[in-house]
Each structure stands twice: as structure tokens, then as C-alpha cells.
Symmetry: D2
Subunit: 344 residues, 4 copies
């Protein structure tokens, strides 16, 4: 049994992790920590845990004294990098769900997050936790930087096509829409039911931080220098991201070449797949750890229109973290992870 702790257990990604881990046959959750709710039962915070095995939330500092193999860190940006080095020193492996260890360039992180990186050495050894491209490195990683939700969807759709030269690296547009759990758990008037229900709007339309994460990683993986326009929108629902991505087709790109390229890239993947004949929608992914991709050729305009869908709390966060854990411990990638969306 892998002995696991969750740090930051009372946000949505923390709670989703605990839900997944509680049904994982190779995991023993040793502790769940939360600065704000020390001493409370998880079931007092999330009604779905009311009937689960009781577990009192502990102070994050108590982790140090525990025998733990792996810590999932679900803290906000800036806070994670302050605790991760200590956990690594204590011999624990870490999967970090914050943005703190996702960047190759610490200075790029600093530009977009406006804070000094406090653990650059650890960052150098961190592995980008996207199994479709880094399964081997994840296997032996001490520290995994779990990718952002929007980022995961964009990298998976764009990278193979850029690498194959089937689309231009210039002028790419990522138009994304996410359910509200992506914004975290907080008492915020802007996120109150009455304000969000029946509404739809863009936010951070020209400088959302995931832009930099997409650009750095897609450029690295594809070998092309990508600068892209990313515009996120807020959907009146809880879970799911759909990205509609526009790119200029290379002169010789055919529908078959694009399909072949994406099939080659993902037919052996556990959770990421090209759909044929239909477009991905949220229902087809929410509740599962899948990322589903589709596309249409727009001959009139010379554009490729790509669609990439995932559940932001699963493949976009906690599900991908469990997938990374499975790889780190030599388990099947889909252990404890749903392959079929709940649909209704």
C-alpha cells in the first residue's frame, strides 16, 4: 500500500483527490491537512464525505512526523514552493497540483505570477506531469508538477500537429470555456449562484496565466516557437473544459494526415483519444479521466478547428495526479480512475 497524504484537502481539487483515493485499492490515506479547518471532519465541509470513513483534518505541520510515501500538494501558487522542499528532504515524493513546479523557466513563472520563485533548485528536477509525453520521467520522479487544466487540453490537441508540421505555429487561438470549479472554493460574490446561473462571459482575456504554461510546454515539445492567444470563459456548470482551437493549416495538410497524426499520437494512450465523426462535448468526458479530441477542416478559411474536452477536476487536476501516482508506483495508469463519463 502506498501511504499518502493530501495537503490542502478542503479545496475542490483536494476533496476530489480524497474521493478518488478512498476507492483506490493500493492506497492508504494517512492524513489530510488543512490550515483553515484543523480538527474538523471532512464530512463537515463536504456533504458527500458525511458517510465516509472518519478522518479529522490535521495541521500541515504534523505531516513532518508521519511515515508517508507520497504527498499531494493542493496549495495556491506561491505557497506550494515554500513547503515542497521540506517534504522532499524528508524523503517523501511529491505531486504538486499548484503552478509552482510546472515551468522549465523559473523566470517565466515569475513574470506571469508576479512572485519570486523560492525553490528553483527543486524546480529544476521537477517533471511535468503529463503522462502522454513524460511517462518515463514520471516513473522515477521525486517531484511532479501536475499541469494546469486548460494547459492539459491545449497541449494534447496541438503538440502532435505542430511537431508534424501540419499546422502553423503562428496565429494560434485557444478559445476555452470552463465550469466554475476551476476557480476554486471561495465565498465570492462574483461566483455566487445568482450571479453565475444563466450567465456566460470571458475573463482575463489577454493575460490568463495558463497562456504562458501552454506556450512554454508546447514550444518545448514541438520544437516550434509558439505564441498564442488564449481566452477563457466561465460556463454556468460545475465541471468540464472545452477548448475550441484555431490554427492555420499547413499548405499540404489533409484531413487524413491530421487524423493519422493524432491517431499515432494517442491510440495507445489510456485516456486521450481522437474522436471520429463526432465532436467532443463535456458530457462525453465529465466524470471520467479522459481527454477527447476532435477536429474539422475549414477549407473556406484555411483553418483547422480543433476541439479538446476534459473534466477540469479529473484529467485537468486530481485525476491526472492519480494517474501520475499510478505511473510512479508501477500500477496500471487507470487504477482507481473512471474511463466512462457519468453522462447524466
Amino acid at each position: 500500500m502506498i501511504r499518502v497524504s493530501v495537503l490542502g484537502a478542503t479545496g475542490y481539487t483536494g476533496a476530489e483527490l480524497l474521493r478518488l483515493l478512498s476507492a483506490h485499492s493500493e492506497v492508504k490515506v494517512v492524513s489530510a491537512a488543512s490550515q483553515s479547518f484543523v480538527g474538523k471532519e471532512l464530512g463537515e465541509i463536504f456533504s458527500n464525505f458525511r458517510q465516509a470513513e472518519k478522518m479529522k483534518l490535521v495541521n500541515p505541520e504534523e505531516l513532518a512526523g508521519q511515515t508517508v510515501d507520497l504527498v499531494f500538494v493542493c496549495l495556491p501558487s506561491g505557497k506550494s514552493m515554500k513547503v515542497v522542499p521540506e517534504l522532499l528532504s524528508a524523503g517523501m515524493r511529491v505531486i504538486d497540483l499548484s503552478p509552482d513546479f510546472r515551468y522549465r523557466s523559473a523566470s517565466l513563472y515569475e513574470d506571469w505570477y508576479g512572485i519570486k520563485h523560492a525553490a528553483t533548485k527543486e524546480n529544476e528536477d521537477a517533471v511535468f506531469g503529463l503522462p502522454e509525453f513524460y511517462a518515463k520521467e514520471i516513473q522515477n520522479a521525486g517531484l511532479v508538477g501536475n499541469p494546469g487544466c486548460y494547459t492539459t487540453a491545449a497541449i494534447l490537441a496541438l503538440t502532435p500537429l505542430l511537431k508534424a508540421g501540419l499546422i502553423s505555429e503562428k496565429g494560434i487561438i485557444v478559445d476555452g470555456a470552463s465550469g466554475i470549479t476551476g476557480a476554486g472554493r471561495k465565498a465570492d460574490l462574483d461566483h455566487s449562484f445568482a450571479e453565475v446561473w444563466g450567465n456566460f462571459k470571458a475573463y482575463n482575456p489577454v493575460r490568463h496565466r495558463h497562456t504562458s504554461e501552454m506556450e512554454e510546454e508546447i514550444s518545448y515539445l514541438s520544437g516550434k516557437q509558439v505564441t498564442l492567444q488564449f481566452t477563457p470563459h466561465l460556463l454556468p456548470l460545475n465541471r468540464g473544459i472545452l477548448e475550441t482551437i484555431y490554427a492555420d493549416l499547413a499548405p499540404d495538410a489533409t484531413e487524413k494526415a491530421i487524423a493519422d497524426c493524432l491517431h499515432d499520437a494517442y491510440d495507445d494512450a489510456v485516456f486521450t483519444h481522437l474522436l471520429a465523426g463526432v465532436l467532443p462535448d463535456l458530457k462525453g468526458v465529465v466524470g471520467s479521466n479522459n481527454c477527447l479530441i476532435g477536429f474539422e477542416m475549414a477549407e473556406r478559411t484555411g483553418k483547422l478547428v480543433l476541439f479538446s474536452a476534459l473534466d477540469n477536476l479529473l484529467k485537468g487536476a486530481s485525476g491526472q495526479a492519480v494517474q501520475n501516482m499510478n505511473i510512479m508506483y508501477g500500477l496500471p495508469q487507470d487504477m482507481g480512475l473512471p474511463l466512462i463519463a457519468s453522462y447524466l
Copy 2:
């Protein structure tokens, strides 16, 4: 033109009032006051007012110096009774949307709200603002206590039948469900989108304050001593109340007698009506100032099942307040008020 002020303009009932009044041909809104947002434009708080005529929110204290005929007070319970006496002394008429002036018995109010009534003299002269029963008194009122949303729906459905002896005053159950705007505008985790969407639950199931308001007023109007069980529920939508009401049929009550009784009561009303052949639903009332009533005879159990539906921000609050204003100034009851629900 009636010169009007709105006190407490940045809650949902205040904003709804300003929306209605801005399209009312006989009203000039002189000022809108809000303690929390002095100096701001309403359009900075509510996006629907961004293109409306500009009006900076003033400090409530500035009202005193203004020439105003009528003030709508949209303050929380306990705050209203502190400012209303002064407004009356300054010669203004007042429609109060808080619970502070809805009770005949100040001590009943004190029991249920847990605060001492600070304006008992004014309370004695206040008129209960339910036009279907008190149009005449409202006409000349200096102070109108605008009824609660749940209360309005229950009184309108039950009163005529109790008065006529067609149902028993014992054992009445009011099972209500409301959209979330009834809970007001606030940054509250329990009312955040992620927590409410896809959810349904009861709240305050045995001591919701509207219980006392229903009991006092229904007893007064019907001449029967009514003690009832009221259980409110929270719906994942913004507007609308549906009450399903259970009462024991009197031994000789027939379907025809019940229909006749409700037709007699409301066929001449502007906004309240008995539906025939179908049951009221939220779509049939939301966006209008109507209260629609329906019923079914449950012969197997000897129960009458009554349904009463209204828009909690219109007939349940701001719409009814405008209806009261129209009566106070000799205007048609429906001036500036929608008779047809928006449906979609």
C-alpha cells in the same frame, strides 16, 4: 410625477425596484441610497444598469434633505425600523420591504426575530401591503409593510378557503421551494454556484420566520386560529416560488365549491388568479407580477393539494411594492408591471 427614493438599492430587491421604476411613466427616481457603495454608479454593481441613465449612489443620510414623496426601504430586518420613523416625520410616505412593519403584534415579531421592536407606534399604523385584501387601506397609508415572498403565496392560496370553511384550519402543511435570490445578495460559500448548482435541500425546516407571518395574517383574515407547518427548500435557479400546500378537506367540500370560492376571491384581481385544468409552474409566473393558484382533490386521503406560484422578486417583493405604490397614488395597479411571464 411621483418623486421616489430607494433606500438599500444594492440588494436584489432594491435593484429590481429600480429596474421597474425606470420604466414607470409616472415615477421620477430622485435618489438611490446604499451604505456600502456610496459614490458608485449602479452600473458598477449590476451589469444590466451599465447602459441605463447614470445615477450615483448616495449616503442614506442625504435622503433627509431631499424633496421626496415616497421612499422604498429595502433594508434588513431590524435596520428598517430605525430609519422609517424619521422618514415619516419628514412627511414622506414609506413602503417597507423588510419584515419590520408586517406584523400586527410587535411581540410576535420580537419572538421570531429575536430583536426588540423599536418603532411600535409606527407599526400600529402600518398597513399590510397585500392589495388583494387591503387595497382600500393601502390607498391612504403613510406606511405600508410589504409582505414576505413565501407569505404572499400562502395567504393568497389559503385565506378564501379557510374563510369559507372548505378546509380545516388544523394540520395545514406549506411545503415551499424558492429560487436563490430570496436569500439576498451576499458572498457566502453556501450560496456559491458550485454548491447550489445541481443541488436541492430544505433549510430552516421547522422555524422559518415566514411561518409566523403566515399564521398571524391568515388567522386574522380568515377568523380561524391557524398553526401551520412550513418547510422551505432551495431550488437551483434564480427566481420563483412554488408552494405545495396540504389541507384537510371539510366533509362537504366539493371540487366545484373550491373552484367557485377561489374564482369569487380573485376573478377581479389584477394579478392573482385560479388556473383551471393545469397546475401553476414557475415558468408561468417568473418575470410577471402574477400569483397563480391551482388545486387537486385527493379523494383517497381527504386532502386538498393547493399550488401557489409567484416570482419572489416581483409579486413576492419589488413588484408588489410597485403595485402598492400604484394604489397609493391612484394609478392602475398594473402600471409598469408585467402581466405576462417572460417564459424563457
Copy 3:
């Protein structure tokens, strides 16, 4: 491995069953049948199955020639009783999700469904599939009649209290609200998104068929003759049932006695539990196979207000069917069934 077939695979309960069974480690789904979609892949009908193992839908008649241990029958009322006898004769065990084998009295079924029962002999041997009361009988059953969704919630909340004499069997009111999947999968204007979104309404308020199922089974289990008033409502969401149940307290019933009674009844149950201190809501059950119960004493009115919540597609249908299968084959009741609601 249990060899299983699903008959009527393209309704919502059928698809939910297939989703659950695909992750069940002791089950091999041999075939899925559907009259309307023979030859199609399930993924062509439900987008969540697009990436699942391919399985072409077969004609129901092909079942006869297959080696199958257990058939889940998800057909409409009236159709099920025509095929079940044949399946039993072929030596298969059957869990029937229709109402056809839920009734002790075939004539009661005939009264409420308006059709002649075509398999009264098989009906006599059928076991009512509610594990909290009939686990032993289910174990050896050839035919299990899986209870209705509303029925399950009502029986679980009321039975122990009636049996213990803590509430009166007279005048019970069950006020229920369900997500729309309870109405099945169909192209119906009344169930189109535009008509249901933002709406809430009662339907069949005095003669919903589940009334009779509740009455028969609760009377049988409690030994009291129960006639109750059941009013269902339609919620603008997909999954979940909440019932708010009103009953007259016995003269000597105390809060402690009621809690003790429900604890005694369910503390050893796998999925059904009494909540303490909080009321059940849909979020706390949707996505799990739980039924959660809560209550409040209404001293002013002498009423007990009970709350019972479950996911209509899980504990209310397909989840309970899998729970029954687990019992029939000596497996842990919760194998393949989620204990923690998905919450978001």
C-alpha cells in the same frame, strides 16, 4: 465472472447499468440488447461510451441463444412481464427494473397501471429488491423486482418509525422532487431543455403510481395499514430525489427515540444512514449509491419532518440493481458501487 446481459440498454437506467458493470471486477457483460438500436454501438447513442470497449447492440431475441447467468431487464411497464418468464425458463436469473414484479398483489398493479398482469405466477416468486429489508431473500432469488426510485426513499425513511409506533400511520404526506432522468429518455417537448430549465412544478399530484408501491410495501413491512398522499415535483437538474415527509408524531415520541430507531435500523447497512446535525441534500448523495435520511421535530405542530435523499439512477434504480446482484452472487454489497457522492 458473472455473465450478464442488459435488456433495454439504451434508456438511462440501462446505460447507467452498463457504466457500473464495465468497472465491476466480477462481471462480464455478454450482451446489451435494444429493440430500437440493433447493430449500433453504444457510443453512437451515449457520448460517454465513445471510448469504451466496443459492443454492438443486439436484438433482444438473440439473448435466448446466449450463455448468460443474469439478465437485467430495463423495459417499460407491461413489456417486462412478457419477456421475463422466458428468461427464467431458460435458467437465467433476472433483476427486473420495471414495475412489473414489484407488487405483492397483481391486482393492485393492475389497478394502478391499467394493464392485465401477464406473469402472475412468476410475480408470486419475485423478491422485492430492497437489500435493507430483504437481503436474505434476494440471495437465493431467481427473480428480483427492483423497487421504484421514489418508493425506495420513502420506504427507507418511514418503515422503522412506523414499525416502532413512533409516528402515526394516518395522514402521512410524501412531498418528493426528482431530477429529470427519472422520466426516462425521450424526445418530448415537455422535457426539452428550454421548457424545464428554470422551472419547477408538480406532476401527477394525486395519482402517481409509486403511491401504490409505497403503500403496499410500507404496510407489509410495518404491519400498519398506510394510505398516504404523495406529490412528486420535477427539478431542473438531472439526478437526485429528495423527499420531505410529514407524519404525526406519536404522543410519546422523543427526538432520541426517533434517532435510536433509525440508527438501529441502518447503522449496519452499507448505503443507508441517518445523518446527525445536518439535513440530507442532493449533493450528498448524487453519484453514490447512498440513501441518506434526516429529520426534524416540529413541536409547534406535532409533526415529524423526515428527509430522504438518493440518486434516482443509482440507489433509485441501477445502483440498487447492482447491489442486488452482488447479494445474489455472494459478493460484498458495495462492489463496483460508489460510496462517496461526486459532489461537484
Copy 4:
């Protein structure tokens, strides 16, 4: 009083028109016609009309014999062009809400709709009913082709900037999302509540018919040859369109120049406006006849990101039709039309 008929009264645009017209002080609705529901009351089809003035739906053929000034035609594409010529011959003016009279080039219409145009002569005299650009022509028009919902939002946002040369006419992308009422009223499994709720997806991503309407009209108005990529998406809500539009900035385009251009274009408009400092959202427009526009400069990518929001049933259909009627009869443009969105 203008004597008005509505042809095709039982779709969503027809019902919305009747709702607006019933509160319009200068209009008398003479008749409402519907092939499918002859003899029924409107209130039998739409619950919001249950309490409105009774009006039996007539057969469309009865219109011929009536004294009517203006007919609103709410028929599907292809059907409208078969009845409009006759109405015009009978001396009635017509506002047509179908696509049949929106195109300058009948052959472009034929290409995209796949049907022969049956009224090319009438089409030549038809005026494109977008008051912001054609108020003068509308005033005297016999036949107005009311623009499409997506089209209206795109033309209003793009035209002034293209005309001023502030953005390039090459490579424009219109990414749109609409509430489901845009798809009309029908019993369709794909549009059932269970399938749409919690979902988000693109549809017709490369050949939606509104593409051609946008291109023709924007090219005509701006004098630039525009070919654009339009991808519509379906939102899980009833009303509202938000378009996020991407265009390449001209080399010398400044934020000020863009703002000035849009202010010049729309500061005198009744319903269309540039927002400053905030982005348009659905809440800010739904329930009103406004079209609100916003933008952001994306300097990193050289793109202009434009946002355009409106209510698809109001400014996108029936509201714009009433605005056109007001212009045709010399009334204030906003008579009977809401200027403030309902917000909640």
C-alpha cells in the same frame, strides 16, 4: 393603433413577439396564426399566456381576409418566401424573421440553404432590418428582412472597425455561444433537458448558415471582402449570445482609436453601446433589447479580441423586429422594448 398579425405564433420568436406586443401601447394584435395549433388558445401552449387576454390561434389563410397593417412572419426558411409575396400584394407591410429576405444575393442564399429562392423580386426590395445601419431605409420599407441573431452581434462589433481600417479583413474568427432557444421549439432528443444540462459543445463548426449572412452584410457595409471562420456553441441556458471575435490589428491601431471608432458608431444608438472598463456578459443583456460590445488589445499576439453580447430572442430576433416596426411607424425606437436587462 397599428393593426398587427403574427404568422407562426407558436415558436419561441412568435411567442416572444406576442409578449412584447401585448404591452406595446400603439399596437393592436388582430390575429395570431399557426398551422399546427388552429383553434387553440395561446395559453394552452405557453403557460405565461394563461392569464393574458384570450386569443384563439387562426389558420394562416384567414389572414388574407383581415384588415391588417403589418404582419410579422415567424416561419422557417423556405416557407416564408412562399407567403410573403401575397401579403405584400394585399397591401400589408411585412417584417420577416426568417432568413428568406436577409440576403442581397439570392444565389448566395440558395447556396447555403440548398433551396431555390421563390420570391427574388420581393427580395430585391427587401431592407436588411438592422436599425443601426439602415434606419432610413426601414422607415419606408414594405418588406424588412430581420437579421439573424449571431449575425446581428457580429455585424455590430466588426463593421465600424473594418470600415475604419483598424483591423484586417483577413483571418477574422467569430467564436459564438448561444442559449438553446436559438434552436427553436421542438421535441428533439438532442435538445432534451437531460442531454443539454451540464453540457457545452460546438455545432456546425465550419458551415453554419449565419456565416454567409455575416460575410455578405459585413462586406457590403465595410467595403472590404470578408471571409470569416464562425463556430457556434450551445450553452446550457435559455437566452443570450456572446461572441468572442478575433481579428488582426492594423499596424497603427491604438486602443484609443478603436474605442473612438466604436463610440462614434454607437453613442447615439438606442440599444447598441461600447462598454468601457468591463466586458459584456449575458446577464448584462438578457431581457433587454441591447447589444453590448467590449474589447481587449492583445499586444503579445497583435490581435484584437472583441466581445458582443445580446439576447437572441430580443435584439437577435423579436425585439429587433419590434424596433423595426417602431421605425416604420415613426415611433420612438424603444417603445415597448426593455432597456435594462432583467439580470436575475
